[in-house]
Amino acid sequence: MVFNSLTFAAFFALVLVVHNLPLPWTWRKVNLLLASYLFYSAWNPPFVILLWISTVVDWYAAQGLVKARRESARHAWMLLSVIANLGMLGYFKYGTFLLDNFAALLHAAGIAYQPVPSDIVLPVGISFYTFATLSYTLDVYLRRALPAENFLDYALFVTFFPHLVAGPIMRPTELVPQFEQPRRASADQLRFGLALMTLGLFNKVVLADSFLAPVAEHVYDAQAIPGALDAWAATLAFSGQIFCDFAGYSTTAIGAALCLGFAMPDNFRFPYAAVGFSDFWRRWHITLSSWLRDYLYIPLGGNRHGPHRTYFALMGTMLLGGLWHGANWTFVVWGGLHGAYLAAERVLRSRFGHYRPGPLTLLALGLLTWVLVNVTWVFFRAKTFDKAWIVLRGMAGTNVDTKPILESFYLISVAVIVGGILLAHWFMRARTLEGVVARAHPAAISAVWALLAFAIVAAQGSGAAFIYFQF
């Protein structure tokens, strides 16, 4: 079920009530585990089996890793986990993509091959929970952590509904210890958790779905050729939409966990205030970028084996990171562009590492980063390369015979909302939400909270799925 639904509201209220009953801690954990399975199976009940497979395989793989005496046995257990998880991910997420590309390759070689049309349904959140369970065995394999002692705690780590389908991608060391001792939110944690959920849902339902998504759809999903204004407006709208959608999900998830007495990590640190691309990736989808860094970039060599190997590891990580987002070459190009940006930044830093920009230059570099990030969003949003080129040509002002697509309401909405997001990110650049809230007047917090809640209800969201569910 999605957070922005009546079903979730009823579900969450029930879970909260049972979690706060005077029951033994084990029973309350069982309540959370069963609720999490219910949360997942509410989409498509059979897919809960995949979740069980992933859970059980990694539990036994980690046990085997600890008991193994020989290094080869440790490798074998680690490989079992990697193959089982990536195999599942590969089949469900990339099966059709691989088959289509194989057919295209054969066709290019002059061999006629028509694959049988497949009807593989992508299980929601599979990319997220496979990464979470993989981090469990990989942390044990890399001797960063010991396996969990209690299967219930471990299964709850994999399945805990706030992070299950779209992150933040939790590491076992972040969550398993929290299940060892009884937890119940304090009254203030519950209230602040609800406030965070309101903020997250406002981002999703009001800003992303109601105001920004239609603008991007009018240009990206239509046949009309956009001019510069329409192409830029749609791309900026998407940049705002994807941030509000995904950061909104993360904030709601963090709030839901806090209402239950658990802490989840930040997934975003006001990324549109980033100066440079390494800064951007330390602010955007932090739990994914740090996962890729720890389990892909560093094992590929990281920056320990000279510049060539570093650039190889960087590009490899970003290309695979792009592919993680979707089984389409447009996502690979998106990742490749970010890889190229990071590589270019690395070159510049090596030459001008001593340079310290002043405030205006910093702002200019931040805006440049933001503009270049927006260029990458074109490949993320466009369903085909043809569409991406059309929009990019529009942004460059080289499309001819264009007619205006977006009415002034849409242009003004984008300017106000995306401009507001940019200003807010710059203001919050070196701050935390908690720090700002702590200094605000209580009446102002009440007013903002009520307005956000009212806007959510008045916006009447359609219960649209979060963008990242598809990944």
């Binding site: 802490a263 930040d266 650049r429 209580p442 007013a447 909270w449 806007a455």
Partner: protein
């Protein structure tokens, strides 16, 4: 459990923070180590009072919003969305496959009154028509469903039927893929929200309301268009009628007419005639196939062209002349049809906004239609 949490020294963490102006340490600042349990601080504030204040203000705002729409003559009604449609569609799978089913566009949806039909026929039809949408995909969906063996009324609104336009085509995919979560949400909404709150309607969604305000400047080359406003009220089984405001409020009626008028005049953006004709013929060919499948299964199919008037009728006739569309449809499918102007009892109505009948007229229309259907097409079985 021995989770190694502090592989990065506090000094290193501070260094990472300084490098990026970050206010809080995250996994981004701790490369290659086991990540520790996160810490989430709650800002020191009187949260009890804050929450109470927020709840009171929220209730005031919501109450004002609801009052505003009720003052605009809006009454609570059921949301005519894919979830509500899917409930009716599932009746065919749940033992009502031999029922009378209505598909079509808004005219069949608003003009055919289920309670009148039920009173005369003894059976309440399943209403599967959708506004702004050709019934063709729904016809094909029913043709592919062996559970359906009943009688089928297919409403024909020429500009939708023969153009293939479908505002609600997604309803079929939704019905086939509806998740348990969506079903529960639909049920909760129908019992806790929709019968009580007038503002809960797509037409009064925040972005929609803002967009239709007159203060937005016109962009050169892209005038602000008027989008279709609320026209109907639906019940829990999709029994639907034209909203009384459209008939009784001259200002709202004029607005509804002006919205239709945007699309009723020939425009340079219209597709060329040969493309329109090609699309029309493709639609008819698909209908022929679906109807053949249905009739082979014993389903009685009846096409109905409900009334339109004024500029809308003129536009219907200009875009899809009867001889080139309706007559061809009947000839190719071999199915019978009722064209409103062929029957005096179905003619002479005065649709308030040229396209749909007001409730009283819709009731008369339904009674007259039922009489014709029983008399000329679906004669009841003689008593044994």
């Amino acid at each position: 459990m021995d989770m190694r949490r502090h592989d990065v020294s506090p000094e290193d963490q501070v260094r990472y923070l300084r490098r990026g102006d970050y206010a809080r340490v995250t996994a981004a600042d701790r490369p290659g180590v086991a990540q520790p349990v996160p810490e989430r601080d709650v800002p020191a504030q009187p949260w009890g009072r804050i929450m109470l204040g927020a709840a009171i203000l929220f209730a005031l705002l919501l109450g004002t919003w609801e009052w505003h729409w009720r003052a605009f003559d809006v009454r609570p009604a059921y949301r005519n969305d894919s979830g509500l449609w899917a409930i009716q569609r599932r009746r065919i799978d749940a033992g009502e496959g031999n029922a009378t089913v209505v598909i079509g566009s808004s005219r069949s949806f608003f003009d055919l009154q289920l309670d009148v039909w039920q009173k005369l026929d003894g059976e309440r039809p399943i209403q599967l028509a959708f506004e702004g949408t050709t019934p063709l995909p729904f016809l094909e969906d029913l043709a592919a469903d062996p559970n359906f063996t009943g009688r089928l009324i297919v409403g024909v609104a020429p500009q939708l039927f023969f153009s293939g336009f479908g505002f609600h085509k997604d309803a079929i995919a939704f019905y086939h893929k509806e998740s348990p979560s969506q079903r529960v949400g639909q049920c909760l909404s129908m019992h806790l929200i929709e019968p009580f709150w007038a503002f809960d309607d797509d037409d009064y969604a925040l972005a929609t309301v803002l967009q239709r305000q007159p203060w937005w400047p016109e962009r050169p080359g892209k005038p602000n268009s008027l989008h279709v406003r609320r026209l109907s009220e639906s019940g829990p089984d999709r029994a639907t009628h034209l909203w009384s405001k459209v008939a009784d409020d001259p200002q709202y009626q004029a607005l509804a007419r002006s919205i239709w008028s945007q699309h009723l005049k020939p425009s340079p953006d219209d597709p060329p005639p040969d493309k329109v004709a090609k699309t029309r013929d493709e639609q008819i060919d698909r209908v022929v196939k679906a109807v053949a499948t249905l009739r082979a299964r014993g389903v009685k199919v009846l096409f109905v062209r409900p009334p339109s008037a004024g500029p809308y009728l003129a536009s219907d006739d200009r875009e899809f002349p009867r001889a080139q569309a309706w007559d061809v449809l009947l000839a190719k499918t071999g199915a019978p049809g009722i064209y409103f102007s062929d029957y005096p009892e179905l003619s002479g109505f005065d649709p308030p906004e040229w396209s749909h009948l007001k409730l009283a007229d819709a009731r008369k229309f339904t009674a007259a239609l039922h009489a014709i259907v029983v008399r000329d097409f679906w004669k009841p079985d003689p008593p044994k």
